[in-house]
């Protein structure tokens, strides 16, 4: 009994630690005064200012555009690469897997500056400039390994006869790939795509080094705002993002718990 109470107290304490700063942000996003020291009445003006802030709206646009495009392209590349890697012999596969792990274990600041050097190196010979394209290329690069690492286990589980059976039944290779293999590995593909999307959405360090002037994602915009000093617009932004994430997670949780209970009912 005492132990239970102690456990509850401990969990409560940690959740207080996790949520106190966020709650403060949310409460003060409605504060009429710019100072965080005292409460000066309820207002929505920071939200209005946020929605009129061109810099933040552009950053939001770039964040979403890069996240969607990079996760789609990385998923496409990753699935192709995973199928290729799966068919290699053992030694080759080991080399390829180590290569795939390289960007995963590499510190992201090193990934960021190494890509920056590469892009600037390229720009000597072509008219490539640091900006949207380099940002996108960088995001694809750090996303591809995660897609591959989520798809490979599914390929391992796959019955290798399935593909051959499809060929025997007269399916052309690409058709068999699309109609037989792809549906089987789809859960891994979706996991990889979602992982890539969230990683891209949250990335700061790599983006910070690989983008040029005029193109920044939300993280970069927040970083420069936070460095310049406190602005209640960030509180409003945090509140909105918190609500969006909360709703998304609740939705995902609701769906999975429904699936779980459906499974339990079947058994």
């Amino acid at each position: 009994m005492v132990k239970k109470l102690l456990q509850k107290f401990y969990v409560g304490l940690i959740f207080f630690f996790l949520y106190a700063p966020i709650v403060v942000l949310i409460v003060f996003s409605f504060n009429n005064s710019k100072s965080r020291g005292h409460w000066d009445g309820f207002t929505l003006k920071w939200y209005l200012e946020l929605l009129q802030d061109r810099q933040i709206l552009m950053a939001l646009y770039y964040t979403l555009a890069v996240a969607i495009l990079s996760s789609l392209i990385a998923t496409f590349l990753g699935v192709i690469a995973a199928i290729g890697i799966h068919n290699l012999n053992k030694l080759q596969r080991k080399i390829f897997l180590n290569l795939t792990y390289l960007p995963v274990v590499n510190p992201d600041i090193v990934t960021g500056i190494s890509l920056m050097i590469l892009f600037i190196f390229f720009s000597q010979f072509t008219n490539l400039k640091l900006g949207f394209l380099t940002l996108l290329l960088a995001h694809i690069t750090f996303n591809v390994p995660y897609v591959i690492l989520s798809v490979l286990p599914k390929l391992k589980q796959l019955n290798s006869n399935l593909y051959e059976a499809a060929l025997d039944l007269g399916a052309p290779p690409f058709y068999a790939l699309r109609k037989v293999i792809l549906p089987e590995i789809l859960p891994g593909v979706i996991t990889g795509a979602i992982l890539a999307f969230t990683l891209s959405l949250d990335d700061f360090v790599v983006s910070f080094f690989t983008t040029g002037s005029g193109v920044s994602n939300l993280s970069i915009a927040i970083y420069s705002m936070a460095r310049r000093g406190i602005n209640p617009k960030i509180n409003a932004l945090s509140t909105l993002m918190f609500i969006v994430v909360l709703l998304l997670l609740l939705l995902v949780n609701y769906r999975t718990s429904k699936e779980n209970s459906a499974k339990e009912n079947l058994i």
Partner: protein, 274 residues
């Protein structure tokens, strides 16, 4: 059918965007720009052999180690409690626990700035008790706090996922054989959870030792870790050669850290997030 060309097209991508960039860093770290062109030299690494940079390196490692230790001490009991709860409540708790992690990581660091700053909420509260204001930001403690806050889930989740997979029968067997709670924990539960612990240590230590954002925002300008040093060299000083040399050192440090813990890690990295 041979589908090797699929793998090789990926190889091409990886060479251009991962291997070549790393070689470029290595190349820069080994060269120096002189009036007559490039010269190969170990000068950049010799420059690092300087008490100033030893201090930066030592501080980076020290702060990362302290944060990792605090995360472990706070996180392990939490993982145990989360793993022991009944299922329906457990899902909600886990959800609540990962929720902050899904918010932008800069926003979370910013949230602490609002609490700790000179006119922040904590100081306002202290002042209202007519006590002198405290310097809470721009010091080591603030940076450690920021690291623990940001990286705690990376410690808890791997330990949690290992703990939930431990067969309850094993613990029952130990109890039947006369072990009390403490012995069960020390001799059975903890050793079995070591893969999760090591994976948690890696996942907290590595981002902590390479971060430059937390130290920049909560540590202030006068305060430097390895990551800040690299950022400075590339963006403000413009000394790519020296910046590259520090990056190589940072990479080696991380690889060293990985080699200590990787043999304990499971195949499935970071399980439990999905």
């Amino acid at each position: 059918m041979k589908r090797n060309w699929l793998a090789y097209s990926y190889l091409g991508w990886m060479i251009v965007f991962t291997v070549v960039p790393l070689f470029l860093i290595l190349y820069y770290s080994l060269t120096i720009q002189t009036g007559t062109g490039l010269r190969f030299t170990l000068e950049q690494y010799q420059r690092l052999y300087n008490p100033v940079y030893f201090k930066v390196l030592g501080l980076s490692i020290e702060l990362a180690l302290i944060s990792t230790l605090i995360c472990l001490l706070i996180g392990y009991p939490l993982a145990m409690i989360l793993a022991s709860k009944n299922l329906s409540k457990k899902n909600t708790l886990i959800l609540l626990f990962v929720l902050p992690m899904w918010m932008n990581f800069l926003l979370r660091t910013y949230a602490w700035m609002t609490l700790l700053e000179r006119n922040g909420l904590i100081n306002t509260f202290i002042a209202s008790l007519s006590l002198p204001k405290l310097h809470l930001m721009y010091n080591n403690t603030a940076v450690i706090l920021g690291m623990v806050y940001n990286f705690l889930p990376f410690m808890v989740l791997p330990i949690y996922s290992v703990l939930t997979k431990i067969e309850p029968h094993i613990i029952e067997a130990a109890e039947d054989l006369g072990a009390d709670n403490w012995i069960v924990f020390r001799r059975v539960l903890f050793p079995l959870s070591l893969p999760g612990v090591f994976s948690g240590i890696t996942m907290v230590f590595l981002p902590a030792v390479t971060t430059f954002v937390i130290s920049r925002l909560l540590g202030g300008g006068q305060f430097t870790l390895l990551g800040n040093l690299i950022e400075q060299q590339f963006l403000y000083v413009g000394d790519w050669n020296f910046g590259s040399a520090i990056s190589i050192i940072l990479m080696l440090l991380v690889l060293l850290g990985m080699s200590f813990t990787s043999r304990y890690e499971q195949e499935q990295k970071g399980g439990g997030l999905w």
